[in-house]
């Protein structure tokens, strides 16, 4: 297991270097002068020169990267051009609503997807199965911003059951907090629920055709015992992988969801930074998101190796 972790960590190093290089070059992809783009034409030349110097644009590109990377190693992701606040502080302020949303979305999607996936697989080619697969297809094809607006229309505008654009921290006020996060979490969780339902259904169907399940049936075990004690445990392994891989979709979905529901999270921060042409902030937040994504993929790889010894030994 230690060998697997070491190998994965070593393999991550060049990727990390290239990711930082890519994020660093992002600002240089801006057509024309990035400082002009950020400050506009109305600012005076002195302010532009100061910003150029602050961002190190007066230095050659390799020197700029070396300086930027050395700051990065010390935890300095740069400063927002608009607010002047360090990027890391902006992200730290916004991370809690995003994490609360992600956890809530994950809870909702798993509590829908796991029973539905099991029911679909154990009732193959019945109305229940059709319902499950239709739900999965709907979830995959439905754009989350459209779903968000439909939910707002039905539960906010028509029925007035749930708030549509006010964030309350569930830790400070659990009831109103959960109410404020319900629609965003359903929006964010649907796509994940769809993918998990599909994966669990197909992997459980595969398991139910295995020899050990036939043996269990021959021994006279009930269908419930076969599913719960034997097939489900093995069928959940691909679900773990899918959950890890879907982390990226969850972050992408959070950008849209937080934008539509005006939640003060990291996703909203990216969109605001893009609109404000605050490129250092865009760079910093995108880099942090990528690092989070790499860490989650690494964790999934290691978990998978821990769950399935074959992976451990073949690595």
């Amino acid at each position: 297991m230690g060998q697997l972790i070491a190998r994965r960590l070593v393999a991550t190093v060049p990727v990390l270097v290239l990711v930082t290089l890519g994020v660093f070059l992002l600002i240089h992809l801006v057509p024309g002068d990035p400082v002009e783009a950020m400050l506009g034409e109305s600012q005076d030349e002195t302010a532009k020169q100061t910003l150029r110097k602050e961002l190190g644009f007066d230095q050659p590109l390799p020197v700029q990267y070396a300086t930027w990377a050395s700051k990065l190693v010390r935890g300095d992701l740069g400063k927002s051009v608009r607010s002047g606040a360090p990027v890391i502080e902006d992200v730290a302020r916004r991370i809690r609503p995003s994490l609360e949303l992600a956890v809530f979305a994950m809870v909702i999607s798993l509590s829908v997807a796991v029973p539905l996936g099991i029911l679909s697989a154990t009732n193959r080619n019945t109305a229940i199965d059709t319902g499950g697969t239709t739900f999965a297809l709907f979830g995959i094809c439905m754009p989350n911003f459209l779903l968000a607006l439909l939910l707002i229309f039905v539960f906010g505008v028509k029925l007035h059951w749930l708030p549509i654009a006010s964030f309350v921290d569930p830790v400070e006020d659990p009831i109103n907090g959960i109410r404020s996060l319900t629609l965003p979490a359903i929006t964010l969780g649907l796509a994940l629920a769809a993918v998990v339902t599909r994966t669990l259904r197909s992997s459980l169907l595969e398991m139910l055709n295995e020899d050990y399940v036939r043996t269990a049936r021959a021994k006279g075990l009930t269908e419930n015992a076969i599913v719960n004690k034997h097939a489900l445990k093995n069928a959940l392994i691909p679900v773990v992988t899918v959950l890890g891989l879907q982390f990226g979709t969850l972050i992408g979905g959070a950008v849209i969801t937080e934008y539509v529901f005006a939640l003060p999270g990291v996703g909203r921060l990216v969109v605001d930074a893009v609109f404000a042409r605050d490129y250092p902030l865009v760079q910093g937040v995108v880099l942090l998101i990528a690092l989070g994504f790499i860490a989650s993929n690494l964790l999934v790889d290691i978990t998978y190796g821990w769950l399935d010894p074959r992976i451990r030994y073949s690595a």
Binding site: V15, C141, P143, L146, L149, V274, A290
Partner: protein
């Protein structure tokens, strides 16, 4: 010279009458799925509407009618009008062009760039392979929409930026697929024979490797178009797609969200078009995968 000439006539396995019947089998399999037929009808309809938009659209999509602001669906405006009196149906029809161009165009860019890189990496291996694949891994380390958003932010709004951003986002998938295929195919006897006969690398790649590596690329491309259309709509929704007043489904939905209470049809028209198109493309993509998958 002689060896090259021989290599030129070296038979490609994917040719001849057997292949024709296999292609026919694949087409029959794809068409036999009911959902595939539904998907094809949707796809043909969307493409038809996009191509013939100037003839099919009942009004000019940019023409404002101040006497008909936020008009509900009626006989004269089937899907209603928006906040400046533009006909929603006309804008949905013209928006189909943007969505389909963005979907097909970005996947074409991704497939072309990804396949080329995968081909280089898989055929020449060594440092080229290491460099290309690490770059692809780095691109895959970003959540797709976040990367597209960041690229859209620096490149600016517009269809060209969307095509480039989504092309970059989807290219690594094609590169990985192509590399995997090439790694297997380059070891086959017919490729080694062609090499021994003196065929140059470009001819081996063009005549022997590419035709045999194409199947999973076609499957991936057919599955990716739907996701690319969704991604373009997401970027347009965030204001990084086609610039208003040009119609795009995502942009129209974003513009309509401020009028959800008074005029929900502004959102529902383009929303339904987007959902149905993506659903249809998913059906087609699934059918293509099932038809070409040797295990099915």
């Amino acid at each position: 010279m002689h060896a090259t000439a021989q290599a030129r006539t070296f038979p490609v396995p994917a040719a001849g009458p057997q292949v024709k019947s296999r292609r026919w089998l694949v087409l029959r399999r794809a068409a036999s799925a009911r959902m595939a037929i539904v998907g094809m009808i949707v796809l043909v309809g969307a493409v038809g509407v996009a191509v013939f938009a100037p003839f099919v659209a009942p009004y000019d999509p940019l023409k404002q009618d101040l006497a008909n602001l936020l008009a509900p669906p009626s006989a004269s405006h089937v899907l209603g009008t928006d906040n400046v009196g533009r006909d929603i149906l006309a804008r949905v029809i013209w928006g189909a062009r943007v969505s389909l161009i963005a979907g097909a165009g970005s996947v074409a860019i991704a497939a072309l760039a990804g396949c080329l890189l995968g081909l280089l990496a898989g055929y020449w291996r060594g440092p080229v392979d290491d460099l290309v694949m690490r770059i692809m891994d780095a691109v895959l380390s970003f959540p797709a929409l976040v990367l597209a958003l960041a690229l859209g932010a620096v490149l600016g709004a517009g269809l060209g930026s969307v095509l480039i951003a989504l092309g970059v986002v989807y290219a690594p998938t094609f590169a990985r697929l192509m590399r995997g295929q090439v790694l297997t195919i380059r070891m086959r006897e017919y490729v080694q024979a062609a090499r021994l006969l003196g065929a140059p690398d470009w001819r081996i790649l063009q005549r022997h490797v590419l035709p045999n590596a194409a199947t999973p690329i076609v499957v991936q491309a057919s599955l990716s178009v739907a996701f690319a259309i969704l991604a373009e709509a997401s970027l347009s929704f965030l204001g990084l797609g086609v610039r208003p007043p040009e119609p795009s489904w995502g942009g129209m939905i974003n513009a309509g969200r401020g009028y959800l209470q008074q005029a929900p049809w502004i959102v529902f028209g383009p929303g339904a078009a987007l959902f149905v198109t993506v659903l249809g493309l998913n059906f087609v993509g699934d059918a293509v995968r099932d038809a070409l998958d040797p295990r099915s």
